[in-house]
Structure formats: C-alpha cells, structure tokens
C-alpha cells in the first residue's frame, strides 16, 4: 500500500490520465462547439462508435493510419449530417434524434463488425509512442507523461484550436450568436441553419476522431460498444467546463484521472475494494460534478431549441 504514495505511482497515474482523457477531450471539445451554436447532441456515444469502427476498418483494409483517422472524422461528420438534418432542417426534438443516433451507431457498427470483421480477430498496428525532446528526460515524470502517441499530444491543439475558432474569429462570434440569439443573426442576413450545420459537423467529426483514438491508438481492436459511456461523460464535461473548450480539456483530464485511478487500484493486490465499486467511480464522479455546477448562467440561451422564423 505504501508505494501508492510514491512519485512513480503518481507519474504513472498522470500519464494514464492523459491517455484515458484523450477520447473524452475530443468528444467534449466538439460538443462545446455544437452547444455554443445552440445544438444539444446526445448522440456523441453513437458517433464515437462510428468513428472507432470506421477508423479500424479503414486501417485494417489499407494499413494507412492517417487515412484511418481521416475516414473516422469523415464518418463522424456524416453521422453529424444525419443528426443535423433531423435536428435543424426538420426541427425534430434534439434529444430524441440523439438517442436514435446512439442506437444507430451501436447497431450499425456491431452489425458490420459481426458481418465482416469478427472472424478475422486480428488487430491493427497502432499509433506508436513518441518522445518529446527534453521533456521526456524529466526524472520520474518524463517517460509516463511525454512518451505518448501523437494523438494524445494533439488534444492540446484541439482545445486551443477550438478556443481560437470560437473566440478569435468572426465565424466563431457568429456561431456563438446563433446559440444566444439566433433571431439577431437571422435579421443580420446570415443563415442560422448554416452555422448550426457547421457546428454540428465540426463537433461530430471530432467525436469520430475521439472514437478512432480508441481503436487506432489505445487498443488495436474494435469491440462492440467499446466507448462504454465516454460520449455521455463528455456531455457532463461540457456542463462542468461551462461551455469552454479549454475548460473541457481540463475537466476531461479530471475524468481521465478517475479512469486511471480505477484501473491502477484494480491492479493493486493490497486494496480490498470490490472492483465493481472502482469501476463505478467515473460514473459516480460525473453525477457529483454536475451537482457542483449550480449556477448555469453560461448555458447558451437557445440550447436544444430549434430556430423557427416567424
């Protein structure tokens, strides 16, 4: 039990935290963009599965990792297009469309996997780990934190990029206006629907990439339903991060830490907590996190409300 308190344990946990947070960072940053435009997409879970499967199938067929991620992003955007058509064009209830997207994502990926890929049982070559010069030389912390694959490092760029897009470009300004006061944008002569489509497509392609991380950089296999709630946790991350992409990055790390601790403690023979209690930790933490955010003044004003011209 003593060595839980050592630097080595801490460093390993932190490294695992970042790795396990990566798919949640992708999905939650994407959802921040979508929700800032007023569109609530609870179909992240299904979208991530679609990305995970598409990425895996592409790399399985071609052996080309970048192409796999590209395909996963495109498949996520395609799922986003379906969502956007129902949620924005037809103005259907966004929660129900999201629930349908989750079922479709789970059903389609499992169906195609069982039909075409399950017999193969083979994995794919995953994204290799890469040392960050100098930083990986830091004692104790260097190797666990800075010998990761490039997708893990890219989460910093994703969060910063989303921040720049939302708060430093005129596109982002209009996108946020669409979420707060769509009528103003409409009267100003710009299409609310167009901006919402763009936000959903960006959000869903990021979710697709987050899914692909699971099959192409984390595990080397596709497993049915392998996202196991990460898409839903990302939804809570967005609320806890108060719709900020940088916030989503750090809150995702917090949830990644619960996954990491859970796995580390399960492997710890001296700890006598039932493993199911440990497994439940990230989900329990999600509920507790929601309770800590009582003041919701940052919520985009028209979140989940279709825009109707009068």
């Amino acid at each position: 039990m003593d060595h839980i308190l050592t630097l080595g344990f801490l460093a390993t946990t932190l490294g695992a935290t970042w790795r396990l947070a990566t798919p949640i960072i992708f999905a939650s940053v994407g959802e921040v963009i979508s929700e800032r435009a007023g569109v609530l997409n609870i179909g992240l879970e299904g979208t991530m599965l679609i990305g995970a499967f598409t990425g895996f199938a592409t790399v399985y067929a071609t052996g080309n990792l970048p192409l796999g991620f590209l395909a996963a992003g495109a498949a996520g955007a395609l799922a986003g297009l379906l969502f956007a058509f129902f949620a924005i064009t037809i103005k259907a209830n966004q929660i129900i469309v999201g629930a349908a997207l989750n079922l479709l994502g789970l059903g389609l990926t499992s169906f195609l996997f069982r039909t075409y890929l399950v017999q193969t049982g083979q994995g794919v070559q995953i994204v290799p780990a890469m040392d960050v010069p100098l930083l990986s030389q830091i004692p104790y912390f260097g190797t666990p934190l800075f010998r990761q694959n490039v997708v893990v490092y890219s989460t910093i760029l994703v969060a910063l990029g989303a921040y720049f897009l939302l708060f430093r470009t005129s596109f982002g300004l209009t996108l946020r206006a669409v979420g707060e006061h769509p009528k103003a944008v409409d009267v100003g002569g710009r299409s609310v629907a167009l901006y919402r489509y763009a936000a959903v497509l960006i959000g869903c392609s990021l979710a697709g990439l987050g899914g692909a991380y699971l099959t192409l950089a984390h595990a080397n296999q596709f497993v049915e339903g392998m996202t196991s709630g990460r898409g839903f946790i990302a939804l809570a991350v967005v609320v806890f991060a108060r719709w900020s992409p940088i916030g989503a990055f750090f809150v995702s790390l917090l949830f990644g830490m619960f996954y990491a601790l859970q796995l580390q403690l399960q492997a710890e023979p001296s700890i006598h907590i039932p493993y199911q209690v440990l497994q439940a930790m990230p989900y329990l933490a999600t509920i507790v996190a929601l309770l800590l955010v009582r003041n919701r003044t940052d919520t985009p004003a028209t979140l989940g409300v279709p825009y109707r011209k009068v």
Binding site: V97, A100, G107, E224, L235, A280, I287, L291
Partner: protein, 366 residues
Amino acid sequence: MADINIPPPTNATSILAGASLRAGLSRLAKATAPPVVAVLLALLAGAVLLAVTGFYAFDIFTVMVNGVFQDVGSIAEMLLRATPLILIGIGLCVAFRCSIWNIGAEGQFYAGSCAATFCGVQFAGLPSWAHILLILVAGAAAGALWAAIAGLLKVLFNASEIVTTIMLNYIAIFMTSYLVTGPLMESGAAYPQSAKLLREVWLPRVVPSTRLHIGILIAVALAMIIYVFLFRSSAGYAVRIVGINSHAARYAGISVRRSILLAISISGSMAGLAGAMQIAGVTHRLYQDISPGYGFEAIAVALLANNNPVGAIFSGILFAVLDSGSELMQINAQVPQVLVFIIQGMVILSVVGFAALKFQSARPQE
C-alpha cells in the same frame, strides 16, 4: 413531443351516429398512420442494409414472421418478451409527457431486479401470495427510488436527468455485478448468479406448457390505469402541462417539482416492476446481464406510441415480434441480431420526423 389534439370543427351532421363513427375512425386512422409508416420505413431501411450486405431480405423477413407466429408456444414466447417492453414503455410515456428524458430505465430495471431477488431469497415462510406481492412491490419501489435520485438531482440542483439517468445505469449494472459475485451469490455456484427462487414465489403462468406468466395481463391492466392517470386525472393533467410549458404550469399554480418527481418515479416504478417480474416470472434468479437492453428499447416503444400508454401495448408487442424474429434470423440465416438496434433507431427517427413535419404544417402560414 407535446401533442395537442384540436377537435375537428363540428357541424350539424356530426351529431349523427354514423358521422361521428366515421369521424372517430378517421381520427384513429390519422393517429395510427404515422407510426405504421414509420415502422414500414424502418423495416425498409433494414431490408436495404440486408440486401447491401448480401442477405436475402425478403426470405429473412418471411422466416421471421412465420417463425414468431408458428404456434401457441412461439406466440407465448413473443408475449413474454413484450411484457417488460410494455411495462417500461408505459412508464416512459409518463416521463416523456412531462418532458423528463429518462434514459435510465435500464438501470431502474436492474435496481428492481436486485430488490426483487433480495426479497425472493429472504422471508421464507410467508404465504406464497404475500411473498409474490412483496417481491413485485419491492421491485417497483426500488425502480422508483433509483429514478427518484435523478428526479431529486433535477429539481434540487438542476442537474440534467439525461446525464444522471445514464450514469445511474452504469452504477446499477456494476451494483448488480457486485451483488451476484458477493452478497447475493449462490453458495458453491461456479458462475456469478444468485440462489434460485423457491417455486412458491414464481409468478403463475397463464398459458399451460409455456413460460408466459401473469405479468402480461398486469402490464395491459397497468397501461389502462396509466392512461386514465395521464388523461383523466388532475395529477396527470399537471404532468402533461409541465411537459408542454413548465413556465405556464408554474403560473397556473401547478407544482412543477412535484410533477417532475411524480412522473420520473412512476416511470422508474414500472421499470423496476418489469425487473421484478423478469426475476419472479422468467429467470427465477439474478444474473449479471439480466436485461438485453429492455430499458433502451422501451424508449422506442413509448415514442412509437406517441407516448400514449394504450398505444404502447401495441408498439411493445411489435418490438417483441422484431426481437423474437431477429433471434430466429440469427439462428437460421446468420444475420447478426444487432440489426434490431438499427431498426429501433430508424423507427425513432421516422417517428420524430413525422411529428416535426406535422407540427410545421399545422402552423399558420405567414
């Protein structure tokens, strides 16, 4: 999802019996046409997917339908599957009518199963009828409590019930896993499972030589009761008004918090009861994966019925036919059974698509 029925304009002829019957039939046709078309569209999508992936869709659907309606035994098995779907579905009708997005029926089903198993293996010596009643009530209460957690977090902390109910699903499933590998585990069992319930507390069967138990009758009766609650009681009226416009409800003096808690607890109790019936009527013991996703499938059941509990009887049976059929499909034609998830998703999309289009066409033109 708000469904406001505007009565058709009345004129002198409509007081005649024939005309009112015709008006009633046409209303019924108008109400049933969208879900029927939605199901047909979803099946068509499933058929296209089968055709694209190299299966003979038409043969497969024929095998499905013939297999499900082959004999009394196969119909009874189908209705056995419909029982939890109807029960959970009618509960979700109440929650959805209140605009409470309870995605946690799966976890509430697990909570009900756990409580029912606990009461089933304890309290030996009670009269059989009292013990069965205790099991069912305990299941319903556990489901209601599990749902009420999300309800309380919603009214006290404004925490999204979508996220909390989903997280509670995972927690309930891990809790079940803990119980059957620990406190409730059958001593000496090789697999994680609870002890078997005594035969005295099994639910009575309604069709001899099949597994169909009285749960199906209780489910149908409860559907009627919930219909009356929603559309003929003031509490049900309050639930629906809160669902349509909670601000208007507050100004009308309705307690929004109470309606939300009531609606989510009712939906949880139905899911918990379904779990208890699964234990007392079908499996007779608790396993780790006691539900094949009934709680999620029931979302489609409620939506297809336009959140009408009586309609949910029929949509529950429809999805049970698809489930039983897809099992046959997997055995006979090696078509992955997960196809039903795709069909469920398509049904939901078609239903909300129709509902949204109807709403748009009903709006006045500018």
